[in-house]
């Protein structure tokens, strides 16, 4: 008779078999990282410990290549910038004091790699993950947004990814009951094998309800609750998010998690009731790296330790090994640290919601994480070494060999042909506003619920999304996000600043005061020195820009390895700006509302067509240098809009960015179907630019506003006092058409069809 031998790799076994071959390479670790683990433990790791270190030291979780650059977001700040910051970088999400005892927390995160492999579940669980981050801070999630980048519309695979991602977001977000208030959708062939699916969530909480992810009181219970643990998403962060895809590699679908939004909705309400009952001393969501992350981070943050019995984890699949349990990224799970005296109250609440839970162990004073599988000890590590003291790399950087040529090949150098007559210009305008990137995205956004909650004050297609936080006073927040990969490819330092400038301008355009910044930095492989140079430049640009605007970065996310083979995506640093408005009733829409208002262009138009939509759509060209960033001008403009909005002078504001004035005029017309007559001759005269630049230049620090005739003198006086360049360029009217004098006249119906038809024709 054969005696049953345990197959579990215990710490004792690890000591006794120091030379056992371990699959550290397959788990994504490097030789020096494996050696370092042995040094920390003074023995080889057990297979369970190896699993934990491999996921926690992955690029996705440890930020090992980006850490040295992310530090400057915490360093390039003034005391003034920190004054409203309740929780800064490093926690699940930053928290900002918005006044009246309210705080908001917001963050944007990537779910790029899973969304290419399995678009529906990848995008769905991306929403789920970011919402749990917000919930973990003690906040009620109040809205979501998403920032999407897809491959070329002509590529047959793009429709698969677009339909999957949009349905995934629609399926998960709608079922959670969170309004989707905006986002971005961009198509470019550089994202063909690496679509970007970033998801942003914002939550609101009272100051006193703030929760932190830490376990510090010995004796408190460690409780896992929510969905059961299954075999989905095993190694998601290490295998998927921290490696480059090979075109002919194996399918990695099993590494993608599967979401159940219903379970998450129940979990949200359950957690909020647990918080209100004050029975939770610490809380952490289970996302990337699952239990490995939650246990080690809670203990490390609390400067304590934990004793955990892994057999207590409730499983969907009883055949899971301890290593798989530690690495599983099954969704809709949370870990709570609960004082023993509160267990009864905790149990009553989770039972009310029919949420399953199990007590895994307890917090101990000794800063050590012990995990047992039955009677056998399989993990015995310092939690800090897993969660926070991972490797940090200063990777080589190199100025891209191809960049000078790209920068030299400007629109003028390439002698891109400009239109010579009105009908050609008018034709280009139509080509631009109907191009996939500039066309209406309502086919996508109509699949998202933006009403639920009853607090949505602005949503797409307005410049920013806005939600009310306080029903008593109308206090609310506005959020806008932006990234222009083409600009960043030309100049990542200024490209990142340009993204910041546009988000900032969009928030200011809504009448809110910009207050804080989050980011999601999507780049190629950090092992490529040229990509690392782009990253270095972009982070420096963003940090410098935030310092100049006086708004702090509160958190963010880095997504590397967005490349197929040797070809990286354009650097795509998505920048989100959050603003505060004392009463959402004061919000400003992006379209003309009333006939007979004057239309003013604020800011100066320069001949800036390099990297523009015009150069892309009309000439399929990318080269030169992106538009000049003038953050002092952005600030002056934002302050002007703030002042004018407080006096109720603005009927509408729309920023000028991709597609220039032409795009903005068409969108302002279509927002409420109000017509206008516009003239360009004063722009061309004052700014010394031709009609192509007047219509399509993407010069920054510009908006158009519409102002009632009775407020004209006041408004122009305000602009002059603040030295913001102002020019009257048109009048709104009920003609049912948009007329650009000496160029063309279009009926609103015609513009609506042109602008609206593109996306449904491609994907509907």
């Amino acid at each position: 008779m054969v005696k049953q031998v345990s197959t579990v790799d215990t710490t004792k076994n690890a000591k006794n078999t120091p030379d056992k071959e371990q699959p550290w390479r397959e788990l994504g670790l490097k030789q020096e990282e494996y050696d370092r683990i042995k040094l920390i433990l003074d023995r080889r790791p057990t297979s369970a410990e190896l699993a934990m270190y491999s996921v926690m030291w992955s690029e996705h979780c440890s930020y090992k290549s980006s850490k040295i650059y992310l530090r400057q977001f915490g360093e390039k700040v003034t005391d003034e910038m920190k004054k409203n910051l309740m929780v800064g970088m490093g926690e699940n999400a930053g928290v900002v004091d918005i006044g009246e005892g309210w705080a908001v927390t917001f963050k944007v995160e990537s779910h790029n790699h899973p969304s290419y492999i399995e678009p529906f579940q990848g995008a769905a669980t991306g929403v789920g993950g970011i919402v749990r981050d917000i919930l973990t801070m003690g906040a009620r999630p109040i809205a979501v947004m998403d920032q999407l980048r897809f491959g070329a519309v002509a590529n047959p695979d793009t429709a698969r990814v677009v339909n999957g991602v949009v349905s995934g977001i629609s399926f998960y977000g709608n079922c959670l009951g969170l309004p989707n208030i905006g986002g971005e959708t961009v198509f470019d062939k550089v994202y063909q094998g690496n679509p970007l699916v970033n998801a942003l969530s914002v939550g609101a909480l009272r100051h006193e309800d703030l929760k932190l992810a830490k376990a510090s009181n010995p004796g408190d219970l460690v409780i896992l609750f929510g969905a059961r643990t299954g075999a989905d998403g095993i190694g998601g962060v290490s295998v998927l998010a921290s490696e480059t895809f090979d075109a002919d590699g194996p399918s990695r679908r099993p590494a993608v998690q599967v979401g159940d939004p219903f379970a998450e909705k129940v979990l949200i309400e359950c957690c909020l009731e647990l918080y209100a009952a004050q029975v939770v001393a610490g809380i952490q969501d289970l996302g990337g790296a699952g239990l490995s992350c939650a246990t080690s981070e809670l203990a490390s943050n609390g400067r304590a330790g934990m004793r955990v019995q892994l057999k207590e984890v409730l499983l969907r699949d009883e055949s899971l090994t301890p290593e798989e349990i530690l690495m599983s990224e099954s969704q809709e799970r949370m870990m709570a640290i609960v004082p023993k005296k509160d267990l009864k109250a905790f149990t009553a609440i989770v039972n009310k919601y029919e949420v399953e839970f199990s007590v895994l162990g307890e917090v101990i004073r000794e800063p050590r994480l012990y995990i047992n599988w039955g009677k056998e000890e399989i993990v015995n590590v310092p939690p800090r070494s897993v969660a926070h003291d991972g490797p940090v790399y200063e990777r080589p950087v190199a100025y891209p060999a191809w960049l000078d040529n790209l920068n030299n090949n400007s629109v003028n150098h390439a002698q891109l042909r400009r239109a010579t007559n009105p009908s050609e210009l008018a034709e280009q305008l139509i080509q631009i506003v109907s191009s996939p990137n500039q066309a209406s995205k309502s086919w996508i956004t109509d699949q998202y619920d933006h009403y639920v909650g009853g607090n949505t004050a602005l949503a797409m297609p307005d410049d920013s999304g806005m939600v009310r936080v306080s029903e008593e006073t109308g206090l609310g927040v506005a959020i806008a996000t932006d990234a222009n990969g083409r600009y960043c490819q030309l100049d990542p330092y200024n490209g990142a600043k340009l993204a910041l400038a546009e988000s900032y301008r969009n928030v200011a355009s809504s009448g809110a005061v910009p207050m804080a910044v989050t980011n999601c930095l999507n780049f190629g492989s950090p092992e490529n020195p040229e990509v690392m140079w782009q990253f270095k430049q972009a982070t420096a640009g963003l940090a410098d820009g935030c310092l100049e605007l006086g708004i702090p970065v509160t958190g963010g996310n880095v997504s590397f390895y967005n490349q197929t083979g040797d070809v990286a995506i354009y650097p795509t640093p998505v920048v989100g700006v959050l603003g505060v408005i004392d009463d959402v009733a004061r919000r400003i829409p992006s379209g003309w509302q009333d006939a007979g208002n004057n239309i003013y262009l604020l800011g100066i138009t320069r001949d800036e067509l390099d990297g523009s939509v015009w150069s892309e759509v009309i000439h399929d060209h990318l080269g030169g240098k992106p538009p000049v960033v003038d953050l002092a001008a952005e600030k002056a403009l934002a302050e002007l809009l703030q002042g004018a909005s407080l006096q109720g002078l603005l009927a509408s504001t729309h920023d000028l960015s991709e597609g220039g004035l032409a795009q903005t005029l068409v969108e302002s017309t279509l927002r409420f179907g109000m017509g206008a007559r516009v003239w360009l001759n004063e722009i061309t005269e004052r700014d010394q630019v031709d009609l192509t630049a007047a219509l399509f230049s993407e010069s920054t620090a510009r908006v158009i506003v519409s102002v009632g005739r009775e407020d004209d003198v006041k408004f122009v006086g305000l602009c002059e006092a603040r030295t913001v360049p102002v020019l009257r360029i048109g009048v709104t009217d009920a003609s049912g058409q948009l007329e650009i004098q000496d160029l063309a006249t279009w009926s609103i119906e015609e513009l609506k069809n042109t602008h609206g038809a593109t996306i449904p024709e491609l994907f509907g």
Partner: protein, 231 residues
């Protein structure tokens, strides 16, 4: 005047429905799916959402909840009940209203400001409207396509049991443009669009007058309050 708003696991628009009741001047009583006690409310709202994750069939599991047993009894006794979106699906699954709701014809979830024609004003929830009035109410659903067999349809049309029809656009392929129904007695009304999202200026659908100023949904809630007061 007490109006109960039911919360099932996965209900999403309960807080919106509660707000609508308050704005209309009613007193809100929160009803929990597992509690069969209706706490002597004067009317009940089944709000929108994805009760029980829409698993099995939309509204099918919720229809079996303890609170529904009491609501079905009370509705048969004349208690005003309004089912909105998922709540309409629950009413259909509970056989308080006939027919069924299936996946939208175009297969997508859709969120839009929807024009409706009020087809019947002899109900607890529509008596404040004018017959034939056109109203704008947000619609948001993935499974809002109304179906019924021919005989049921003939009865619905013949007996004036259609409360609302979609106007201009049929957003989900519903037969005869049916957006909402009433029962014979007029105390039970169900519809796919969301009147609770059109009750507060600034947060409703756009109107020709101003953005997000549409409050056509408020009449549902004032109608029931008036009816209860008058009875």
């Amino acid at each position: 005047m007490k109006i109960g708003v039911v919360t099932f696991p996965g209900t999403l628009d309960d807080r919106d429905a509660q707000r609508a009741v308050r704005i209309a001047g009613g007193e809100v009583v929160k009803l929990w799916h597992a509690d069969a006690d209706l706490h002597s409310v004067d009317a009940v709202i089944l709000p929108g959402g994805f009760s029980f994750g829409d698993y099995l069939r939309c509204g099918a599991i919720a229809a079996q909840a303890p609170v529904m047993e009491s609501i079905i009894d009370a509705a048969n006794g004349g208690l005003p009940v309004l089912g909105i979106c998922n709540g309409f699906q629950v009413l259909v699954e509970s056989h308080l209203l006939p027919g069924g709701l299936i996946r939208n014809e175009h297969q997508h979830f859709i969120c839009r400001d929807q024009k409706l024609i009020v087809e019947n004003i002899d109900t607890a929830w529509t008596n404040g409207f004018k017959l034939g009035q056109e109203i704008t109410i947000p619609l948001k659903n993935g499974e809002g396509g109304y179906i019924a067999d021919d005989e049921t349809l003939r009865r619905l049309e013949g007996d004036g049991l259609i409360a609302f029809r979609y106007s201009e656009v049929n957003p989900n392929g519903s037969v005869n443009n049916i957006a909402g129904l009433r029962n014979e007695r007029g105390n039970v009304v169900g519809l796919m669009p969301h009147p609770e999202h059109a009750v507060e200026p600034g947060f409703g659908p756009d109107t020709p007058l101003a953005m997000r100023s549409g409050v056509d949904g408020l009449t549902f809630f004032t109608s029931v309050l008036n009816q209860v007061v008058n009875s």
